[in-house]
Amino acid sequence: MGNMIEYIKMALKNITANKGRSFLTMLGIIIGISSVIMVMAVGDGTANAMNSEVEDLGTGQINVYCSEEASNAEEWITPEDLTAIRESIEGVDGITPNDGASGTTITGKGEFALSFSAGTEDLQKALNFNLKRGAYFTAADVEEGNRVCVISDSDAKRLFGSDDVVGMDIDVTIGGIAGSYRIVGVTQQKENTSFISYTYEGMPVALDVPYTSFEIFGWKSDSFYSAVVFANDKASSEDVVREMIHLLETRHQCAGEDYFQIQSFQDMLAEMNNMLAIVTTFISCVAAISLVVGGIGVMNIMLVSVTERTREIGIRKSLGAKTSSILMQFLAEAAILTILGGIIGILLGLLGAVGACKLMTASMGSTIYPGVKASTILGATLFSCGIGVFFGIYPARKAAKLSPIEALRRN
C-alpha cells in the first residue's frame, strides 16, 4: 500500500489521457453539487434577508382583531379599550387602531385613488419608512381630529411632481363628500423592505391620517375591527397578549368567548420561515437526486472504463500487480474524478448563487447575500467523495478480481 502515490499518478494519467470521458463522468457530479450549493445558498440568503427585514420592523408588533363571534355579537374594539390597554398593561409602548378609508383626489397630474391608513400617532411605529421632511402627526392632532396627513416621497411626486410638499393641502373626496388634508410629513422607504412593502403601478396613493379625522365625511371612528399593539423589548409578548386579552374580555364581559384574536409578527415570521424551509427542502431533494444520478453516472463510466481496460488489467496483473493494487488504482481514479467534480461544482454553485442573488437583488430592491454555510459545502463535498468511492468500488472490485489469463484473453 506504500505505493499510493504511484496509484494516484496512474489514475491521473488515465484521467488526462481520456479527457472527454473524464469530463462526462464529472459532469453529473458537477451539476449535482453546484445545484445543491446554489439552492441552499439562495434559499438561506433569502431567508436571512426576510428575517432581518421582518425583525427590523415587526419585533414586538402584535395584531389584535375581533373574531367572527365578536362581529356577530356586535362587539368591537373601542377607543376606550385602546386607552385602557395603553395605560394599564406594562410593556406596551403604543397602540393604534387599524382603520382605514379610501377616496380620490384630483391634482394637476390627474385623478388618483387614495388609501387612508388611519390610527393614532403610534401608527408611525409600524412604518416601513423613515421621515424625510416635516413631522408625523401628533397625539394632539388625534385628540382634536385634525385633518393632517403623512405621505411618501414617491406618492408626493406622483401627485405634485415634487416631494417638497409639507404644508400643502390635498383636496380629497371620501364617500362623495369633499374635504382637504394638510400634509405635515413626507416619508421615504427604508432600504431592504421590498418583501413587506412592495409597490406597483397604479397603486392607490397612501396617506397616514389620525383616525379621528373622518368626522366631516360623515362617520365617527368609535369602533374598530383590529388594532396594533407595540410591545417593548422588556416585556415578553406572551405576557402582553395574555393581559390584553384578559383586559378586553373583562371590559366587554365576554370571558371565554374567544371574541378577540391575536396575531403577532413572530407568528408570521415563523410561518414564512416554515414555508421557505419547505421550498428549500423540496428543491434540495431535487438537487440531491441529481447528485445521486451523477454518482450513478460515475459508476457507469467506471464500469465502461473497466470493461474497456480489461486487457490492461490483465497486463498489469501478469506483471505482478496485486488485486489490491488494481483496486487502489481504480478507486483513486473514481475519487479524483469526484473530488475534482466536487471542487468545480462548489465553485460553479457559489458563482451561480452570487449571480442569482444579484438578479434577485436587482429585481426586488432588497439586498440578498448568498447564505453559504460551511456545512453545506462540507456536506456536498463529502457526499460527492462518498459517491465516488462507493460507486467506484463495485467496478474496481470487478476489475481487480479478474484472473490475469481471462483478462489477457479479451481484446
Binding site: 505505493n3 496483473k317 505482478g320 490475469p404 489477457l408
Partner: protein
C-alpha cells in the same frame, strides 16, 4: 545442481466431470538455471496451459511446481502476483504494452509493483531499453513504434527487474521475418548473458534456435532433447 523449475506430476483439468478437458496430463519437467528451452506444440496441445502454469498465471489441479526453490502450486492470488513480479519476465505474442504509456513507462511498470523508488526505477528501465537498442525511442508510445520495436520494449520490460525466468509466449508470432530474427537475436543474447529463457512456440524453425526442445502433445511431454541431437534427460 539446483533446479530453476521443477514440475512434478502436474495435471490441469478444465470442466471437471463428464466433459472434462485434461489440458495437462501428469507432466514432469525440470529446467536448470541458464537454460534456453523451447516448448513446442500445436495449438490445443497444452503448451499454453503449461506456459500459464510456469508463469504462475494459473494454478494446477494437481501436482507440484517448484520455482526457484519455492513451492508455488498452492499459492493464493496475491502471492502469485508477487511471484510473477519477482521471478518471471513475460514476453507475449501480442506485446501487451499499455497503449497510453510511453516505452519507458511501460518498462517501469513491474518495477513500480515491486516498490522500487522513482529514480532507481528510471535508471533500471533506461538500462533495459538501451540493452534492446531502443535508447532513442524511450518516450514514444506503442502506437508510434513498429511491431519489432514494440516487442523489444516488451523484452526490456521483462528483463528490467532481472527476474530469474524469462517466459516468452510466441514472441515472434506477430512479426515479419526481419523482426523475428532481431527478436530471436536478443533472446539468444540474453541466454548467452546467463539468463534462463523459456520460449513457447509452434514453429519448428524457432524451436531449433533454442538449446533444448520440449515437445508437448495432448497434454503430455512426448519429446525432450538438446538441439545438438542427444537426449537430455528422462522426462
Amino acid at each position: 545442481m539446483d533446479n530453476l523449475i521443477k514440475v512434478q506430476d502436474m495435471c490441469k483439468v478444465y470442466n471437471p466431470g463428464e466433459n472434462e478437458v485434461r489440458a495437462l496430463d501428469h507432466v514432469n519437467l525440470e529446467i536448470q538455471r541458464g537454460e534456453f528451452v523451447a516448448i513446442i506444440g500445436h495449438s490445443g496441445s497444452g503448451k499454453s496451459t503449461l506456459m500459464n502454469m510456469l508463469g504462475c498465471l494459473d494454478v494446477p489441479t494437481s501436482g507440484s511446481y517448484y520455482l526457484n526453490g519455492k513451492d508455488v502450486s498452492a499459492l493464493n492470488d496475491n502471492q502469485l502476483s508477487e511471484i510473477r513480479n519477482q521471478e518471471i519476465g513475460f514476453i507475449f505474442q501480442g506485446f501487451n504494452l499499455i497503449s497510453n504509456l510511453t516505452a519507458i513507462e511501460n518498462v517501469e511498470l513491474p518495477l513500480i509493483y515491486r516498490g522500487i523508488g522513482r529514480s532507481k526505477r528510471h535508471k533500471l528501465a533506461k538500462e533495459a531499453l538501451v540493452r534492446v537498442g531502443l535508447e532513442k525511442r524511450m518516450d514514444h508510445k506503442p502506437s508510434e513504434m513498429s511491431g519489432g520495436q514494440q516487442q523489444r520494449v516488451a523484452i526490456a520490460r521483462a528483463i528490467a527487474a532481472e527476474p530469474p525466468v524469462i517466459l516468452a509466449d510466441e514472441p515472434t508470432g506477430n512479426l515479419d521475418s526481419a523482426s523475428t530474427e532481431e527478436i530471436m537475436g536478443i533472446l539468444k543474447g540474453l541466454h548467452e548473458a546467463g539468463r534462463s529463457v523459456i520460449l513457447i512456440t509452434h514453429d519448428n524453425e524457432i524451436a531449433d534456435q533454442a538449446k533444448r526442445v520440449v515437445r508437448i502433445l495432448d497434454g503430455k511431454i512426448v519429446e525432450d532433447y538438446y538441439n545438438s541431437g542427444r537426449k537430455a534427460q528422462e522426462a
